[in-house]
């Protein structure tokens, strides 16, 4: 018995036997895998904003920087800088790359530095004299500007006046 043809313009080969349409189902499966991979990457903190900590031991000080290395437009986050002073520092300065301020709104700095200046594109926050055994903790509260995008350097230097004591190199990425 010959089989009846489906209503035109449907064709037996294309619409019933699905010849040449195996690719469609694979495209759909690949799409599902890509979406799943996107979610797995998010769970693995690729798109932020879990803070990560970088440390450096220097000449009489220990610097620790804790801040997310990936953030997204509009998010609020905190950067924390801890400086353990082991030897006397006459004029403790925190030097922050422009990447700490470019495309970010700084909501608050705690504590306020005694002086704030710029040196070759870096922001210099001056906290004055620190005897051995004291610890400085600075918290900067930010919000990412919605139009910000891309990777930026966020190096941090601790200095005594013009003399560098400790240095942390890091980058942060802003996702749309």
């Amino acid at each position: 018995m010959t089989k009846r043809n489906p209503p035109a313009p449907l064709e037996r080969a294309t619409h019933i036997e699905l010849r040449g349409r195996r690719r469609e189902i694979w495209v759909r499966r690949v799409g599902v895998v890509l979406f799943a991979a996107f979610l797995v990457a998010a769970l693995a903190d690729v798109f932020g904003q879990r803070p990560s900590t970088a440390r450096a031991d220097g000449d009489g000080v220990r610097l620790s920087v804790s801040s997310p290395t990936a953030v997204r437009g509009g998010l609020i986050f905190q950067a924390r800088f801890d400086v353990d002073v082991r030897k006397e520092v006459k004029d403790l300065r925190l030097l922050l790359d422009s990447g700490w301020f470019e495309g970010l709104t700084l909501n608050s700095v705690q504590p306020d530095p005694v002086g704030w200046a710029q040196d070759r594109g870096r922001n210099v926050l001056d906290f004055g004299h620190f005897p051995p055994g004291r610890k400085l903790t600075v918290r900067l509260q930010y919000q990412v500007n919605p139009t910000s995008l891309g990777r930026r350097d966020q190096d941090v230097t601790v200095a005594d006046g013009d003399r560098q004591l400790a240095f942390v190199s890091r980058t942060a990425t802003v996702y749309p």
């Binding site: 449907l10 294309t14 619409h15 699905l18 759909r28 599902v32």
Partner: protein
């Protein structure tokens, strides 16, 4: 510029998502699916306009979405070869009262769902159906014997 680009990306994302999800899910909206769609709309809105509360911003986003929808429709109309990609193709689910298991499995449609859809069109039994076709819109059309 920002809002137009964001709208473009989100439109593309939604288009791909809808093509992946499958047309059946989109046409047979259960209450839960409807809620999910509304929630998706709300989630997407912030990504497009962010902190822009202006009428201009909203108009730009809506205009971009509308224009892209028209563009897709025009592409589908103008270029026959793009139609399977943009709209999909119909699939026959039942022939002479006999379900086509492979095609049903491919579209994740159970026999019970097919029978329910037939009942909605006043068809008592699938035995009375010559052809059941899953259309590109996600609706199932039934042709009597």
């Amino acid at each position: 510029v920002d809002i137009v680009l964001r709208s473009l990306v989100i439109f593309a994302l939604i288009f791909v998502l809808m093509r992946i999800v499958g047309r059946r899910e989109l046409s047979s909206l259960e209450p839960f699916d409807l809620v999910i769609l509304v929630v998706i709309g709300d989630l997407v809105q912030q990504g497009v306009t962010q902190d822009d509360y202006s009428v201009t911003g909203a108009a730009l986003a809506v205009a971009t979405f509308a224009l892209l929808a028209v563009l897709l429709s025009w592409l589908s109309f103008r270029f026959r070869r793009l139609r399977p990609v943009l709209d999909g193709r119909p699939i026959v689910l039942l022939e002479d009262g006999k379900p086509l298991d492979g095609n049903l499995r491919r579209e994740r449609i159970t026999l019970e769902e097919l029978a329910a859809q037939a009942r909605l069109q006043q068809i008592e039994s699938l035995d009375d159906v010559r052809w059941a076709v899953l259309e590109t819109s996600g609706a199932i059309s039934f042709i009597h014997k």
